[in-house]
Amino acid sequence: EAGVAQSPRYKIIEKRQSVAFWCNPISGHATLYWYQQILGQGPKLLIQFQNNGVVDDSQLPKDRFSAERLKGVDSTLKIQPAKLEDSAVYLCASSSHRGLEQYFGPGTRLTVT
């Protein structure tokens, strides 16, 4: 079974620029999560989707972050404009049952200069 795929793996941008990340979950997994992991900390949820609907986006900085999962499969996370404090690894995870046994992708390491 293929795992969660993410791209790009690395991205370096200047502050105030825009960036987008892509995630393809495990086939058949209805729930998809985006987490932000700052160096030295545990992942923190940004947004949770159930199929193509948002379940929880309470911790998403909506003035600059947006995410979509239009067809209930792939998802994109966008940051516009980026700030220095957005430097982190952005992890995508999926699960077949809400909240249980989440499987993580390799992450995208974002550096904002």
Binding site: V4, T31, Y33, G40, Q41, G42, P43, K44, L45, Q48, Q50, V55, D56, L91, A93, H97, R98, G99, L100, E101, Q102, Y103, F104, G105, P106, G107
Partner: protein, 112 residues
């Protein structure tokens, strides 16, 4: 084997020792708990989980213990190997499907 009573950010053990990594969780309503292993440059990898109706669950070389009274979770790794070196995170959630809340990680270093 090496053990810690309180959460420590790092744990160093010798190959073959047993390791115990501790975690305190915050939400009394949490009824699902999970341990992840994260190697450098990779995403977290599922190790073992436990539901609140249990206080112990065993996997291959790993055991998770749950003490709901004091909101404490521990991961025991038997016969620790160099390949076990990584950062270990505990996470809490609930079976209703909310997202996981991750604790502070513990970096396990295994020397041969």
């Amino acid at each position: 084997g090496e053990s810690v009573g309180l959460h420590l950010p790092t744990l160093s053990v010798q190959e073959g020792d047993n390791s115990i990594i501790n975690c305190a969780y915050s939400n009394s309503a949490s009824d699902y708990f999970i341990w992840y292993k994260q190697e450098s440059g990779k995403g977290p990898q599922f190790i073992i989980d436990i539901r609140s109706n249990m206080d112990k669950r065993q996997g291959q070389r790993v055991t998770v213990l749950l003490n709901k009274t004091v909101k404490h979770l521990s991961l025991q790794i038997a016969a620790t190997q160099p390949g076990d070196s990584a950062v270990y995170f505990c996470a809490e959630g609930n079976q209703a499907g909310t997202a996981l809340i991750f604790g502070k990680g513990t970096t396990l270093s295994v020397s041969s």
